[in-house]
């Protein structure tokens, strides 16, 4: 089906070429029509909440990444870019998808995909691992190719070895019996204070018994989230997403207990003892728990963009048995053994088969549609640590701007991905 294939390979690493252009390639693939059957099978395999597909309706935006991946497969691009693979490297996998939507493709209409690959370059260690990676732009157009959506894929050929363990940028608390209720509260956007059921004394940090009366029975009250700075430090080192130096405050909550947390959204030089602050919640992501942070009460009350928005959406859990992981990949025309063959996944360093990122994008898309049916202009999905089969994927989202949503997905084993959606005609931004 490859109509045209060019590959500039004049500067392969072993050719000794100096300053020549690195390996790039382009190919045009005629995919034939996307049928209602294709969409229905894919939707059913993923368990998506879609209207029944029929000829003439638009191919769902969430299907486009799968279409781009399928075109790479049919165009035979990856073996030309990465070589035959084998020992020392894992099978190539998609680690980032960025989709710009333009026009629509009708179900039943022939589809043409123009692929152009950038150079294969070294890819430094990250949550997904290290190796060599290539960026491929897929222009997807319907009949005649008048308007096309663009799907940009980053594909990594990871160096062989155990899958990356991943590392959170923020230190994570150890959550156990005595503090679990508090972090669960944070997950729900609540700042809880432990209260003795016998004498009513509030206490923080929490503990099993009341220092005032010894009672072991307790419940919680929800803090107003307002307080004053009792003391603070300006730390000249790095913490998570925060600019350095960052501020750690000892905050006297209005309810009477004190809590240590970061004070953000203010120049550290302007922080003062006695200043009034209010809590905000930084959303969780695939590696890090949600966290309470404080902003000046007299400011705009908005968390810095790097910390995400505080308007959380209801999370959903998706069961991911191995059959669903395999079925989703295959229905999206992704035949990589990483997603369907446990032995191949183990050989590549994964404990089980891995959810493919096009399917991950579809889950994120499906989640978003339940909250905002506005027209999507762009969405981007980035892999974190691998989402392994036989686990539960929890998807959380929050509004990160008037037209933007941030979505994070995580598994109990630390796998996950992050997604951003930009929406035109957003329901809630009208």
């Amino acid at each position: 089906m490859a109509e045209e294939l060019t590959l500039n390979d004049s500067s392969r690493p072993d050719s000794g070429g100096d300053g020549a252009a690195p390996v790039t390639g382009s190919v045009v693939v005629d995919m034939g029509p996307v049928t209602a059957f294709d969409i229905a099978r894919w939707s059913a395999a993923l368990g998506l909440d879609l209207d029944p597909p029929r000829d003439g309706m638009a191919v769902p935006a969430a299907f486009l990444p799968a279409l781009a991946c399928a075109a790479c497969e049919q165009g035979g691009l990856l073996p030309r870019l990465f070589g035959a693979g084998g020992e020392g490297v894992a099978p190539p996998q998609v680690i980032r998808i960025r989709t710009h939507l333009s026009g629509e493709i009708a179900v039943g209409q022939p589809v043409r995909v123009s692929l152009s690959a950038g150079p294969v370059e070294d890819y430094e260690e990250s949550a997904v691992g290290a190796g060599r990676a290539v960026r491929i732009a897929a222009g997807i157009s319907g009949d005649g190719g008048a308007s096309s959506s663009i799907v940009e894929l980053t594909i990594l050929q990871r160096n062989a070895g155990p899958a990356p363990t991943g590392r959170s940028r923020w230190p994570q608390p150890l959550v156990a019996n005595d503090n679990r209720f508090w972090w669960d509260g944070v997950d729900r956007g609540l700042l809880l204070i432990q209260r003795c059921k016998e004498c009513g004394t509030l206490r923080h940090p929490p503990g099993p018994s009341c220092p005032a009366c010894g009672s072991l029975s307790w419940d919680t009250v929800t803090a107003s989230g307002r307080g004053t700075v009792h003391s603070f430090t300006i730390n000249h080192s790095r913490l998570g997403d925060l600019p350095s130096p960052y501020v750690v405050g000892l905050i006297a909550l209005d309810e009477g207990v004190r809590i240590v947390s970061n004070i953000v959204g203010i120049d550290p030089a302007d922080v003062r003892i006695g200043m009034e602050v209010e809590v905000r919640f930084r959303p969780a992501n695939s590696l890090e728990r949600a966290m309470p942070l404080f902003v000046p009460a007299d400011g705009d009350g908005i968390l810095p963009a790097c910390l995400g928005a505080e308007t959380g959406l209801e999370p959903v859990d998706i069961e991911l048995p191995a059959a669903r992981v395999a079925g989703a990949a295959v229905a999206g025309n992704n035949l990589s053994p990483l997603h369907r063959d446990p032995a191949a996944a183990r050989a590549a360093g994964y404990a089980a088969t891995v959810l493919d990122l096009a399917s991950a994008a579809a889950f994120a898309h499906d989640y978003l549609r339940r909250h905002d049916p506005g027209r999507i202009e762009m969405f981007e999905v980035a892999a974190g640590r691998p989402v392994l089969a036989d686990t539960v994927l929890t998807i959380r989202g929050s509004r990160s701007g008037a037209h933007d949503f941030a979505i994070t997905a995580s598994t109990p084993l630390g796998g996950g991905f992050e997604a951003q959606f930009s929406i035109r005609d957003s329901e809630t931004s009208k």
């Binding site: 150890l174 156990a176 005595d178 503090n179 603070f232 000249h236 000892l250 207990v257 240590v260 966290m291």
Partner: protein
């Protein structure tokens, strides 16, 4: 809260001190440092390894008592135990040794501490919570980037400045005094390297309000001390340094360096507890002390200790230390070996050695006719202290 105390005042003594060189890279194991320090202390005391029947070290020490004993050919231990909370246990090692000797549980006890804190495991690195009650508690702070000893103490220091008007220059005067003393101590890492208050102010921020020069150095090295009864001490080579008092303190609402839920955080009530016990045990008052070794991991807590121990009133330490009062020749010279800011950071054990030298009259920055010395352990954490004296 401190009431009666039946500490065996004057009945036990320090009879030997020893240390390795202080460096940034010892090039040998922590066990070897512990052994060398112990050997030096035994030679100083005129004792053989076979005389030793008790060993005390810190819970955080990596060289176990039995490894030290076996390596040195000791012939059996009757008493071996450890002190908790890092540098807060320094003087508690002496307390335990003294109590054991007085009770007849051991005749000669060596207290030791040895580590490659600079070239090996550095305590200034951010803490990683572990699954203990203390580790879980630490998570309330580390999660928000308050994860190093400097940062824990900076929170208290800021509040102290706010309440009492102390300034960064006031903290700096502690560093200047210790570096002045180190400058004339050939064993100090900062020998011949005094600093000025301007250099203190110009040093980079670690955790505002703490500059680099508010933080003690990091060191490799080992220190040991030998304790026995006052009676046996009379037969040994050196003038005995009697233990007049030794006490521990963990106050209400105590956490390990983060006791921020207390109503007042600009204080060290655990050190006040230690002080009250020490004065009661020894029958002394602050005015009887000829010089002091005040734990100087971070300068602000030297000011707080002076207040908690009764050398001056709450909030008055900045006036107390002004005009060279804590320097050699001043009203209360402190850390005449250079302290941990100037000599070495060996969890305060090198300060015990200095206290012994002052009473023996063999220190490089000797206080004339020095008879009574106070030594304190790490602060912010549950802590300890001793009062040593020439007289039995």
């Amino acid at each position: 809260m401190t009431s009666s105390t039946s500490f065996p005042t004057g009945k036990t003594a320090i009879v030997g001190i020893g240390a390795t060189e202080f460096s940034k890279q010892s090039g040998r194991s922590e066990l070897q440092l512990a052994i060398e320090a112990t050997q030096h202390a035994l030679r100083d005391a005129g004792l053989k390894p076979s005389d030793i029947d008790g060993l005390v070290t810190f819970m955080s020490d990596t060289s176990s008592e039995i490894d030290v004993a076996r390596s040195l050919g000791m012939q059996g231990l009757r008493f071996f135990t450890r002190t908790p909370y890092g540098g807060g246990g320094t003087c508690a090692t002496i307390m335990l040794a003294s109590l054991a000797v007085n009770a007849g549980l051991a005749d000669y006890v060596v207290c030791y501490r040895a580590f490659n804190e600079r070239s090996g495991n550095r305590f200034g690195a951010p803490a990683v919570p572990v699954a203990t009650s203390q580790g879980i508690n630490m998570g309330w702070y580390t999660t928000f980037g308050l994860a190093t000893p400097a940062s824990f103490i900076a929170m208290v220091a800021r509040r102290y400045m706010h309440e009492y008007g102390a300034t960064s220059e006031d903290f700096g005067r502690v560093a200047v005094a210790c570096r002045k003393h180190a400058a004339t101590n050939p064993n100090a890492w900062f020998y011949e390297k005094p600093i000025t208050i301007e250099e203190h102010q110009a040093s980079r921020w670690i955790v505002d309000p703490l500059h680099l020069l508010d933080c003690c150095q990091e060191s490799d090295g080992g220190v040991a001390v030998v304790v026995t009864s006052a009676e046996r001490a009379r037969d040994l080579p050196h003038r005995p340094v009697h233990i007049a008092g030794a006490a521990q303190g963990a106050a209400a609402g105590q956490e390990a360096m983060t006791s921020y839920a207390r109503d007042d955080i600009a204080c060290l009530p655990e050190m006040a507890m230690v002080g009250r016990q020490l004065w009661a045990q020894s029958g002394m008052a602050p005015s009887d002390i000829d010089c002091a070794i005040l734990y100087d991991h971070f300068t602000p807590f030297v000011l707080l200790q002076l207040e908690e121990l009764g050398f001056c009133a709450r909030g008055e330490a900045r006036h107390f230390i002004a005009g060279g009062n804590i320097e050699h020749g001043g009203k209360l010279p402190i850390n005449l070996h250079g302290g941990q800011l100037g000599e070495a950071y060996i969890h305060g054990m090198n300060g015990l050695n200095e206290a012994v030298r002052q009473i023996r009259g063999t220190a490089v920055n000797q206080v004339e006719d020095c008879r009574n010395v106070l030594v304190t352990a790490g602060t912010g954490v549950p802590t300890s202290g001793v009062v040593l004296r020439a007289d039995a």
